[in-house]
Amino acid sequence: MARETFERQLQMILDHVLVLGSMVEQAVLDSLDALKRRDQAAARRIYDADLQINEKRYSIESGCITLIATQQPMARDVRFLAAILEIITELERIGDYAKGICKITQIISEEAIDPVLIYELQQMATLGLDMLRRALDAFVAGDATIARAIPMEDSKVDKLYNQVYHKLMEQMTVDISTIDRANHIMWAAHNLERMSDRVTNICERIIYVATGEMKELDTT
């Protein structure tokens, strides 16, 4: 008794989750690029495009609820749909971090930013997005081993965040006129640091789907 229609619907939901993942990834990359170039127009565009991310998230959520109501999923299927409901929330929040960075770009306008800081923020984003991509790959493969390994890399992002934090604190101590701008940059760094925490949450859900275990992953 194959459930071909149900299988197709599950696959379709998964495809949409991957699309949402790509949208979020692009938003983070574009937001940093806009910050680097202090491109107000681009920042505004990315900020507005967050609406599409939210809509995609609600559309997936609605699809999951419909499947739960109409197909009565059990075992791995119900874990899969329950996990997706969590994962899309995490992805949407990452999208909000990109939106936050665009807001910062708009606030700090033409003010100069130390290129080294920009580089470090980009590195944080690269690491976080790499974690996200591999997490979504692990989700597709149902691979709990990979999902357990990914959060261990969170410490690299934390290290970069601490670097940025101390650098900005130093700047603020030396020159109090930089406090406003430094705070905004710290806000951007904090958003990127939280992004990798969200990936850890996603990994917890991947493990749940694969094994049925609901555990908090410790990344320290």
Binding site: M1, M74, A75, M152, G212, K215
Partner: protein, 297 residues
Amino acid sequence: MANKPVFTNMETFMTEEKQRAPLTLQLDMASKPGESQPDRGYKIEFHDFSFYYGKFKALGKINMQIPRNQITAIIGPSGCGKSTLLRSINRMNDLVPNVRMEGQIILNGENIIGTSVDVVDVRRRVGMVFQRPNPFPKSIYDNVAYGPRLYGISHRLGLDEIVYSALRQTALWDEVKDKLHQSAMALSGGQQQRLCIARALAVEPEVILMDEPASALDPVATLKIEELMQTLKETYTIIIVTHNMQQAARVSDFTAFMMIDNPQTRTGVMVEYGLTTRIFTNPKNKQTEDYVTGRFG
């Protein structure tokens, strides 16, 4: 500190869980690994129980413990021996010619398999409700009073008390109290089924077996039966065979999944047995997973 479980031991788990909603407690407890049966004890135990119709081995070495005052659901594809297993518990299968049993079924510490067992007494202690409501063509009152009369209760007041109590227990009293002496055949299907449950309760059983008790009923009548089961389990141990997996998931505390061992021998075997919430969210066995997710069967 890698992969630290949220709860390190059951005591911590319980302490923290008590502060949460009861539903969360119930669900999370069910998902704990190494599940153990409640310490209220077992009502029924199968030990290497096998069943034969002539040369055909219908059940092979069933081992399971059914806890008292819980609802245990037996699920599995057609022909896997669910009903045979159920009917073994009150020796209903004895009515089929050339049957043979091996192993033990322990009811309250006593083996009910063997020629020296008082089968009539077993059937009093283990009541049964069937797929289709089967009231006798008698009045509502006489349907419920039938069993007690058979067991020698003839005093009117005593009978009244038994009949009224059974009808109240099955939530039928308010619906039929003014027409107790009208024919039971005039009741709706759902009411007839609840009357059959009342009839089973009237002889004060310890266990109630239900073989697809709601499959012939509409959704409202089904809901009433399911709600009734939750009330009845406070007094009785209930075992239900159902093809409706959602019903098993909704009503039962424990679920047993059975299937045939192979297409040639077609012997029914127990594949997996455990807490219902675990069986339907995280079964250990691949065959159980495939069955509950609707990928075979």
